[in-house]
Amino acid sequence: MTQPMLTLQDVGKTYLVGTLNEVRALDRISLTLAAGDFVTVIGSNGAGKSTLLNAIAGLVVPDAGRIVLDDQDITTAPVHRRATLIGRIAQDPTDSTCASMSIAENLAMAASRGRPRGLRRAVTITRAADFAARLTTVGLGLEQRLHTRIGTLSGGQRQAVALLMAAIAGPHLLLLDEHLANLDPRTAGVVMTLTGQLVAGSGLTTLMVTHNMAQAITWGNRLVMMHAGRIIYEASGTEKAALTVEALVSRFHTASGADLVDDRVLLAS
């Protein structure tokens, strides 16, 4: 294995400690991603998938363990400090973009990621041309609507812009937290294809949480299954390629000893 890009070492997070509702969201989890890895993460509701991503993004501070990204210990670094290294897209399209600002302005904010923001005009002619070229690759005709407010776009179009925003400043890690979950199946397909192209094109190390088992099998080179804050199954290479949805579901039953009581998972298969 090449130099690790991301290392999680015994990372733990417990919510509501000492109460009846104590939840162990992450149970001393360890995971290592090599540069260029595209890992899909599946699991039932409450398995800790989102907490895992949020801990890496800095939205949740772990109460145990270490997170090292690109040789920097980021376990407790504030969100804006680690942002230079991480691109992230959330489930809700309204989370990853600013509705009242134009497509170009949103891309400009993302293009300045990790750079000092001064008093230079944000959307210059050069930048606008660059944005238009990037939007053309998406194939949704958005390059014609550079100065349209993001709020007027559909959820799929917004996620497509969010995807470009996540990648535009060359992050070292891309975090996708069920970024297709709020889209209709056809749009989700389009945005997923786009995601695949983007990740493949830039060799971006990616961690994608999904509730769609078929997608988790199709995309990426590694698959991780979580339950109750732990990784209960991992597959990569030929083993992953040979997986089926049925095989994954039965894997889940044997490994977790629980039912996969998530309608979305079953329906999506």
């Binding site: 969100v79 991480i86 400009a108 944000a122």
Partner: protein, 284 residues
């Protein structure tokens, strides 16, 4: 009337930043507006140059905004409460700066006197000079604000109010952008107070009472007339809103309403400005 509207334009621009972009009514305005008047008046009486006195007032306003931002971000106190705390503290600061409840500027040379002398205009022409100078400053401030809101930093300030989690994930320290936004906002508001004091010929401890509402009225009347749109539109709408507001107030006084009725009139104007867009948007 035109003069009062233009003077309130700075106030409108300041409130536009906090009320529209940061989405909270920043009560610091009630303290930073008289602070602008107090600092200018105290310095003018002490013999300081009018331009320097006015600039010092702006700087004091910026500091007041920064204080509110620090209370909010570092001590994690709700933004409205932070504004109330700053407003309360500023009341004492303003009294200390002036040394008494009001200062007359009739015997000192103000920015407007200086401009009138410089142009060699007679005393009768001072009103015209005041209007022209105020409008020139206002256009300059509006253009500077519009330009700023289109820069990398300006976009980050706008996004801070709209989607804080998103702009933080893009590497922006939102504590800092709040500091910048509230600093600019209260700087503009203090400038409004400084110019009003020089125009009216006095600074008064009570000049800031209800000022946030008149600033918000300018923003909302502008929005009701122009709708929301580009940054340029917001800025122009706010200035027109300030002019319309003062026109309506003057009109109300002319048709026989007493000055004591003004706050009620303002409240009704605000209500109309807020209700109008909704009422218009209702399907037939």
């Amino acid at each position: 009337m035109l003069e009062q509207g233009a003077l309130a334009g700075f106030l409108g621009l300041g409130v536009l930043i906090s009320f529209r972009f940061f989405r909270f009514p920043d009560l610091t305005a009630e303290g930073s507006y008289p602070l602008g008047g107090a600092v200018t008046a105290a310095l003018l009486v002490a013999g300081v140059d009018p331009i320097l006195s006015t600039l010092a007032a702006v700087a004091a306003g910026v500091l007041a905004g920064i204080a509110t931002a620090l209370i909010h971000t570092k001590l994690r106190i709700n933004n409205i409460v932070a504004g109330i705390i700053a407003m309360t503290a500023l009341y004492t600061v303003n009294l200390r700066v002036m040394g008494r409840a009001n200062i007359s500027l009739l015997s000192v040379r103000t920015l407007y006197d200086q401009a009138t002398d410089l142009l060699g205009v007679s005393a009768q022409g001072e009103t015209a000079v005041t209007i022209v100078l105020t409008f020139l400053l206002l256009v300059g401030a509006a253009a500077a604000l519009a330009w700023f809101l289109h820069t990398d930093l300006g976009l980050a300030v706008r996004a801070t109010g709209e989607n804080q989690a998103m702009i933080r994930s893009l590497g922006v320290d939102t504590d800092r952008t709040k500091l910048i936004g509230l600093g600019l906002s209260n700087g503009a508001i203090a400038l409004s107070g400084a110019l009003v004091a020089q125009d009216h010929g006095f600074a008064d401890i009570g000049m800031g009472i209800g000022i946030l509402v008149s600033g918000a009225a300018a923003v909302m009347i502008g929005e009701a007339l122009f709708g929301d749109g580009s940054i340029e539109r917001w800025v122009v709408a706010t200035i027109v809103g300030a002019l319309v507001y003062h026109f309506l107030v003057a009109f109300a006084l002319r048709v026989g309403l007493a000055p004591v009725d003004l706050k009620l009139i303002t409240a009704i104007l605000l209500l109309v400005a807020l209700a109008l867009p909704r009422w218009r948007a209702k399907p037939a």
